[in-house]
C-alpha cells in the first residue's frame, strides 16, 4: 500500500514573482485543468500541506517568510519551484534585490521551467513531486525502523 492513500495538499506562496505563474497555479484548480478531481487541494495552511509550490525568486523581505512556511510543514515535505524565476532568478537575475532562486533558501525537489509556467507543466511538476514525497516517506520509515 502506498503512503499516499489520499491525495497531496498544496500550499502556494509567491516569493517575488511577476504574478504570471501564480495565476497559472490557480488556473490548475479551475474547470479546464481541475486538479481537484485528483483530490489535490490548495490549502492556505502550511501545517496541512504536503507540497509547497513557490513562484518567483527570493528577496531579502520574503526569505524569512518562505523559511517560516517551509518549517511549519510536517515531514515528509516536498518543494516545487514553479517558473524560471524560482529556478534561477530568470529575467530578474541581475536585479539588486535578488538572492537567487528558491534553492538559495530552502531545498528544492522539483523544478518547473517556463515563463510563465503553463498549467500542464505545473501539474506535471506536482505529479513528479508526489513520487519524491513517496521516496521521502519510505526513507523516513526505514530510518525509524533502524533506530
Amino acid at each position: 500500500m502506498s503512503f499516499l492513500k489520499r491525495s497531496p495538499w498544496i500550499v502556494h506562496y509567491d516569493g517575488a514573482s511577476c504574478n504570471g505563474c501564480d495565476i497559472e497555479v490557480l488556473a490548475c484548480l479551475t474547470p479546464r485543468y481541475d486538479v481537484e478531481r485528483f483530490g489535490v487541494v490548495n490549502t492556505g495552511n502550511p501545517k496541512h500541506a504536503d507540497i509547497l509550490l513557490i513562484t518567483g525568486y527570493i528577496n531579502e523581505q520574503s526569505q524569512p517568510v518562505v523559511k517560516a512556511i517551509y518549517e511549519q510543514m510536517p515531514e515528509p515535505r516536498v518543494v516545487v519551484a514553479v517558473g524560471i524565476c524560482a529556478t534561477s532568478g530568470g529575467i530578474f537575475r541581475e536585479c539588486y534585490n535578488t538572492k537567487g532562486g528558491v534553492d538559495s533558501t530552502i531545498p528544492v525537489d522539483v523544478y518547473v521551467p517556463g515563463c510563465a509556467a503553463r498549467p500542464e507543466s505545473i501539474i506535471d511538476g506536482v505529479v513528479k513531486a508526489i513520487a519524491v514525497l513517496e521516496e521521502k516517506h519510505l526513507a523516513m520509515k526505514k530510518a525509524r525502523a533502524a533506530s
Partner: protein, 359 residues
C-alpha cells in the same frame, strides 16, 4: 469599548495569491486602523534599464505584472516611441488595442473569480475562470502566450494576426460574452452576493478623489474618468464611454468591472471587424534621447510610465506609477471601521496587484 488588539493579515493568506502584509488594529470586531507593510515582492526592475538595452527591456517591462502584462509592455513601448518620434503603422495600433481589451477582459474575470472565492461562492469562482479560459485561448491563438504575451515591440507588434484568425477569435469571444451575461446576472441579482457586497467598504466620491483612487475604484465612487479617452493606440477611433456607478460600495466597484467586461467584449468585436490592412512594424533607428510620460488605462486604473533616454542603448531612468499603488491609501481608508470578517473582501475590491505595486 474593548481593548485594542493587533491582528496581522498576510503575507501568506488564503484570500491573496500574492503577499501583502497589513497590521489590523482591532477593537472588538471592528478595524480601527490598518497599517500596511510592503516589499515582499519588490524586484527593483526599474533599475534594470541600466543593464538591459532599451529593446530588450520591453520584456522586462512586461513582467512588471503577469496579469496586465501586455499593457505594461505596450506602455513602455509607447513612451519610448514618443521619445524616438516613431509613428507606428495603423494595423499595429489596432492589434495593440485588441490585446489591451483581451487583457482587460481576462483580468476582470480573474478578479471576479477571486472575489467570489473570497465571499465563499466557490461555484461562481469556477464559472468565472472557465469563461476566462476562452479569453486565454484567444490570447494564445494570437500571441502564443497565455499570461505573458511578449508581442509588444518598439515600433509595432512582434507578429501579425491574419484576418481569418481575427474573425475566428471574434466568434469565440462572442460565445464567451453570451456565457458571461448569465454570470453577470448572478453578480447583479444574487441575494448572497448582495449581502456580502452592498454597503461594505464605503468610499465616498470626495474621499476617492482626494486620496487619489484610480480606475474602477474611482469610477465605482461616481467619478467619470477613463484614461482610454486620451485616445492612445486606436482608442481615438473607438467610442469609449466610462462606466460609472454611484453607490460607492464594494457592489458598485464590482458592477463597474462587470460592465467593463461586456464593454471589452464589444470592443473586441468592433476591433476584429475594423482592423485595417498594412504592415505591423516600423523599424526604429537610433537611440532614445529625451523624456516622456505615457498614460494608459490598465484593468486596475491609470498607469503612468516615465522614460528618460540619454542617447545611448541604455535608458537612464524608467519609472512606473501603478494603479494598485495609487489605490492603497483609499483601501486603508475603507478598512477603517469595517468588520474583521470583511477585510479580505475589501482588500480584493480594489483588485490588488501587489507585484505591480512593488515592482
Amino acid at each position: 469599548m474593548g481593548e485594542r488588539t493587533v491582528i496581522p493579515f498576510g503575507p501568506q493568506h488564503p484570500v491573496l495569491p500574492e503577499p501583502i502584509h497589513i497590521d489590523l488594529v482591532v477593537e472588538d470586531e471592528h478595524v480601527v486602523e490598518a497599517i500596511p507593510s510592503f516589499g515582499f515582492i519588490h524586484r527593483g526592475l526599474e533599475k534594470l534599464v541600466e543593464k538591459k538595452d532599451f529593446h530588450e527591456f520591453t520584456y522586462v517591462a512586461e513582467r512588471v505584472c503577469g496579469i496586465c502584462s501586455y499593457i505594461h509592455g505596450m506602455g513602455y513601448c509607447q513612451a519610448v516611441e514618443t521619445v524616438m518620434n516613431i509613428q507606428i503603422p495603423p494595423r499595429a495600433k489596432w492589434l495593440r488595442t485588441f490585446w489591451c481589451e483581451l487583457s482587460r477582459a481576462h483580468s476582470h474575470l480573474l478578479w471576479a473569480g477571486l472575489l467570489a472565492d473570497a465571499f465563499g461562492f466557490e461555484n461562481l469562482f469556477m464559472q468565472c475562470w472557465r469563461i476566462r479560459e476562452t479569453v486565454l485561448d484567444v490570447i494564445e491563438e494570437t500571441t502564443g502566450g497565455r499570461v505573458i504575451f511578449g508581442s509588444a515591440k518598439i515600433g509595432g507588434v512582434r507578429r501579425d494576426v491574419d484576418n481569418d484568425t481575427l474573425k475566428r477569435c471574434a466568434v469565440k469571444i462572442a460565445s464567451a460574452a453570451a456565457e458571461f451575461e448569465e454570470l453577470k446576472k448572478v453578480f447583479r441579482d444574487d441575494y448572497s452576493v448582495k449581502q456580502r457586497l452592498c454597503g461594505i467598504g464605503m468610499l465616498s466620491r470626495d474621499d476617492a478623489w482626494t486620496l487619489g483612487a484610480v480606475g474602477p475604484t474611482l469610477r465605482g465612487s461616481g467619478v467619470r474618468t477613463d484614461t482610454r479617452l486620451e485616445g492612445y493606440a486606436a482608442y481615438n477611433e473607438l467610442k469609449i464611454e466610462p462606466i460609472v456607478e454611484t453607490a460607492c460600495d464594494s457592489y458598485a466597484r464590482c458592477m463597474v468591472r462587470m460592465h467593463e467586461v461586456t464593454q471589452s467584449f464589444d470592443l473586441i468585436q468592433e476591433i476584429a471587424a475594423r482592423t485595417p490592412e498594412g504592415p505591423v512594424f516600423e523599424k526604429p533607428s537610433g537611440y532614445p534621447n529625451g523624456e516622456y510620460f505615457a498614460r494608459l488605462e490598465q484593468p486596475r486604473g491609470e498607469v503612468i510610465y516615465y522614460v528618460k533616454g540619454n542617447g545611448t542603448k541604455n535608458l537612464s531612468r524608467f519609472r512606473v506609477r501603478t494603479p494598485t499603488f495609487a489605490n492603497i491609501p483609499p483601501l486603508l481608508h475603507m478598512l477603517q471601521g469595517c468588520e474583521l470578517a470583511d477585510v479580505g473582501l475589501i482588500v480584493l475590491t480594489i483588485d490588488p496587484c501587489i507585484s505591480c505595486a512593488e515592482r
